[in-house]
């Protein structure tokens, strides 16, 4: 659902801070409701929505200047309701990867989260991020490489 995807992007973008993520999600959907008459259908709805998400997150970045959350390892927050039986090791792995994503420079972090959680095409991402296709490609490549570098030695079930 859109609200979960927007919330997830905000959650991982702001270092797992569920308070900021809730604020961002509320802000995005209130803006959407108040400006829905500006959607003329000339862009895909999801592109329009995620352009909003990008702008709201970047605005909030300038306001919050938040530090990565260290103590807020609320691992249950990573689980969907009803999946409390989820392997603790998997929750640990999610925590480690989440910290690495949080530490990415903003432009790479946003590109990776948009691509991973919403699966926007490169064209849609270019519109949402306000940049060229080549820039989208290079941010994704560079972002993933930095992530891999930061996760060296991480053997959480993946490469």
């Amino acid at each position: 659902m859109y609200k979960d995807q927007v919330y997830s992007i905000a959650h991982y973008f702001f270092h797992g801070d569920s308070g900021i993520a809730a604020d961002i999600t509320q802000h995005v959907f209130l803006k959407l409701i108040n400006n829905v008459n500006q959607f003329h259908g000339d862009a895909e709805f999801s592109t329009w929505l995620y352009r909003l998400v990008v702008n709201v997150c970047l605005d909030a970045t300038r306001r919050h200047k938040s530090e990565p959350i260290a103590a807020n390892s609320n691992l249950e927050a990573f689980a969907r309701p009803g999946s409390q039986e989820q392997d603790y090791a998997k929750a640990q792995a999610a925590h480690i990867v989440r910290k690495a994503v949080s530490a990415l420079p903003v432009k790479y972090r946003m590109a990776i989260l948009l691509r991973y959680f919403e699966g926007l095409s490169y064209e849609q991402m270019a519109q949402a991020l306000g940049c060229s296709l080549g820039t989208v490609a290079s941010r994704l490549s560079r972002g993933h490489r930095i992530l891999a570098e930061r996760l060296k030695g991480f053997e959480g079930g993946k490469l």
Binding site: E155, G157, L159
Partner: protein, 149 residues
């Protein structure tokens, strides 16, 4: 079929005898989504401490008459001792993949020919030591001459 049965039995005997050896399989044998697009999976059998083993792989090929070599990244899977090899060698020419392993005092090697439909299990060779250059060249020559299907 007989060759595969013999090869399988030899591997089993080596493993049961405690010898360090490689076994190859299709990517699904790795039981890991990450291996799905691999050229093949392999495991190091008979190694008492897989986490301390050193496994390397290289691709040796002949492309339009020219000998080529390239080092490959070996991807460790979640299960200890299980690995995957991904194709980063070219589509042109004929290639064999050379595996080398060190587990404590023991070593192992393998040569895995690659055909149009993927790795050629029945032509793979396994050793309790690294393959020699001559053995690699012989495998390549056999592949080029169509000795391997």
């Amino acid at each position: 079929m007989l060759r595969i049965a013999v090869a399988t039995s030899v591997l089993a005997v080596l493993a049961m005898a405690g010898g360090f050896t490689f076994e190859i399989g299709s990517p699904v044998a790795a039981q890991a989504p990450a291996a799905k697009t691999a050229a093949f999976a392999f495991r190091a059998r008979g190694c008492s401490e897989p986490s301390k083993s050193q496994i390397t792989a290289g691709a040796e090929g002949i492309v339009r008459g020219t000998r080529r070599s390239t080092v490959l990244n070996v991807a460790a899977m979640e299960k200890p001792g299980v690995y995957a090899v991904f194709q980063t060698w070219g589509d042109e020419g004929r290639w064999v993949i050379v595996l080398k392993g060190v587990c404590g005092p023991e070593t192992a090697g393998a040569i895995v020919p690659i055909g149009p439909k993927g790795f050629i299990r029945e032509s793979a060779k396994f050793f309790s030591r690294p393959a020699t250059a001559a053995e690699v060249d012989a495998s390549l020559k056999s592949l080029v001459e169509g000795g391997s299907k």
